[in-house]
Amino acid sequence: MKQGFPTALDNSLVSCHSCHLVSKAPAVHGKGEMICPRCGSVLHQRKPRSLSRTWALVIAAFIFYIPANVLPITKVTSLGHAQSDTIMSGVIYFLQTGMWPIALVIFIASIFVPLAKLFILTFLLISVQRKWQWRPKDRTRLYRITEAIGRWSMTDIFVVTILVALVKLGALATIDAGPGAIYFAAVVVTTIFAAMSFDPRLIWDSMETNHE
């Protein structure tokens, strides 16, 4: 036992991702999958290929982030005059018209949160791969934050949906969704999956192996 911290892994036990039942891992690692005796999900000591999956999703999200911000997310046609808006131009519009609380909400949800999430995940991935010993508890906390904040990035997608549904006033004004919305939705989905595929237990695994 290391440092008085017995983990499930040390005791050849597996904790189920979905129902949290701790059961005995079969000694032989054949091709057959381990199945949780209580809920029937496939058991893993750690999330499978956590690092490479998370890297792939993080890189994909970084790539999607560019067209999501460069391409327009809405196109407003008002009395024959068309105007395209990107996420940032929406924020600037609200700032200029003095509605800074709304500008702040959109800036945080659509620009800051996805980027912060991606940088935190990149940092966590590197820290696990390099087996850093630095503040595991705080790094776990950072992970918890990225998991919790991701959903709020959907705000802008919902705004576009509502605007598109409401503003159909014939010749007076219409709002259409722009291609940026697709990429932005892709950013949100890939970052949520990235946070899900990262296994915070890896942070602690490298702490233990280095103590030996």
């Binding site: 983990t7 209580r38 909400v105 906390r141 959907m154 549904a165 503003v167 159909k168 006033l169 915070p200």
Partner: protein, 201 residues
Amino acid sequence: MNSLIACHECDLLYKLPVLPEGSAAKCSRCGAVLQRHKRNSLDRTLAWAIAGLILFAVANIYPFLALKSEGLVRETTLITGVEQLYKQDMRSVAVLVFLTSILFPFLQLAGTLYMLLPLKFKRLPWWKPALVFRFIRTIQPWSMMEVFMIGILVSAVKLAKMASIIPGLALYSFVILIFVLAAVAASLDPHLVWDRLEIER
């Protein structure tokens, strides 16, 4: 009865005693919440889920916002936005919005009712209870009604300059539904459900 549990964030093993009502056990190494013993979890969650389904029906049937501009009125229900996106060749976005704001919140409420109502009467749900419960736990992060609410607020402010916004009946039930959904999530004790499934088997 002590039950063996491993921290889902750092894998540390614990033998947890039965927790006193209203208390939570935290991992001493990483601080993650291991388990919570919630008061009257089954009854409370059931009550919230039933209330949630009623509000969900109201929120989807009636229009939640209407826009009035120079004699033209346009009403919208939850599904019309999805339809419009779909027509504009934004199929992937339309599907995402449909799943996160309509289908998953509904399945979560209905699934919770399906699981807990039989358990309340000491029976097993008739069709694959473990699979259903696993499914509703998996989709939980994708049910985003509270985020949709922020979306409504932002759109209302954005449109207020252009035309007058009239809140609809659905909007009120929508607002309440968000708190009810939060209450469902807060009162549900997944450990209890898994334990009961084993006992009734």
